[in-house]
Amino acid sequence: MNKKPILVIFPHPDDESFGVAGSLIQWSNQGIPVTYLCLTLGEMGRNMGSPIFATRETLPMHRKQELQEASRLAGIKDLRMMGYHDKTIEFEDKDALADVFIHVIHELNPQLVITFYPGYSVHPDHDACGAAVVRALEKLPSQDRPLLHCVGFSHNIVDDLGKPDVIRDVSDVIDQKLAVLAAHTSQTAPIIKELKQNPSLQERFKTEEFWTYSFDQ
């Protein structure tokens, strides 16, 4: 791959951990810079730590620190916390959001953008984030448009879109990836505990799957 930057856009701290962190670690090992726009601080999350250590009011502060540590462990040098509020992305003006993304795309000239596949990503924030990224890229002339790889996990995604066309083996960096996941302590402590007790569950974290978004649909 060339050394042009990769731009990752997700709404919640920890969205980058499950499906993308291994790829990010591999890219950073190859010297490819990654910029991560994280739209919210997951202010409305239900997990308060296990055992509970956060309140509704302190959760954003904890999640911000977790996000910074997770980004450091994933090799992300440019983390941008965008200041939107959890659960409200679908109620923001889609074009205004797209314009924010276009501004960053002009600044970075990325070779690849990564987000959620709109309509196939379960959480309304995920779908709205992906839809605004698609809108942003649609506004660019096709010759200036970076490649768009989408993550999705709704039950119907394979039926509708077919199998993911990009499948990346990240087993060589699995320990680092799990460390990124574990950095989101307030959200992931129970999962990390399970993964330690039953290492066979780690298998599904060793591949990362993406659907390349096609703009002529």
Binding site: M44, R46, I52, E57, V122
Partner: protein
């Protein structure tokens, strides 16, 4: 947070009586409930920084607890509350955590905007 006890929390509610205060009220079953169980009807709501005034506020129940705040023209109601805290900003945080420790409801009162 600490488990709610009637004799500790009722006086705290009373300190917000007959004042212009700000409320955060929220219920949630999580954005993934229907993804996990397709028969589950996901429902939730939140309102943040609603400016209100109540003339009577009561904590009831044996745990989980209920709170009702009587306003001039209506009511604020919350059930399923289990834990409380006065935070460093003097705000009363009430929360209901389910068996797995996940937040199910929050009712918070503050003299200043959240």
């Amino acid at each position: 947070m600490k488990p709610i006890e009637q004799h500790l929390v009722q006086p705290l509610i009373d300190t917000f009586k007959n004042k212009q205060i700000y409320v955060h009220l929220e219920t949630t079953n999580g954005a993934y409930a229907t993804h996990t169980d397709q028969t589950f009807h996901s429902a939730g709501a939140f309102i943040r920084n609603a400016q209100v005034e109540f003339s009577q506020g009561k904590l009831t129940g044996e745990g989980p607890f209920r709170v009702g705040l009587k306003m001039e023209l209506g009511w604020i109601y919350a059930e399923g509350l289990t834990d409380f805290e006065i935070d460093e900003k003097g705000r009363l945080l009430l929360a209901g955590h389910n068996r797995e420790g996940k937040l199910a409801i929050a009712l918070e009162l503050s003299e200043h905007p959240f």
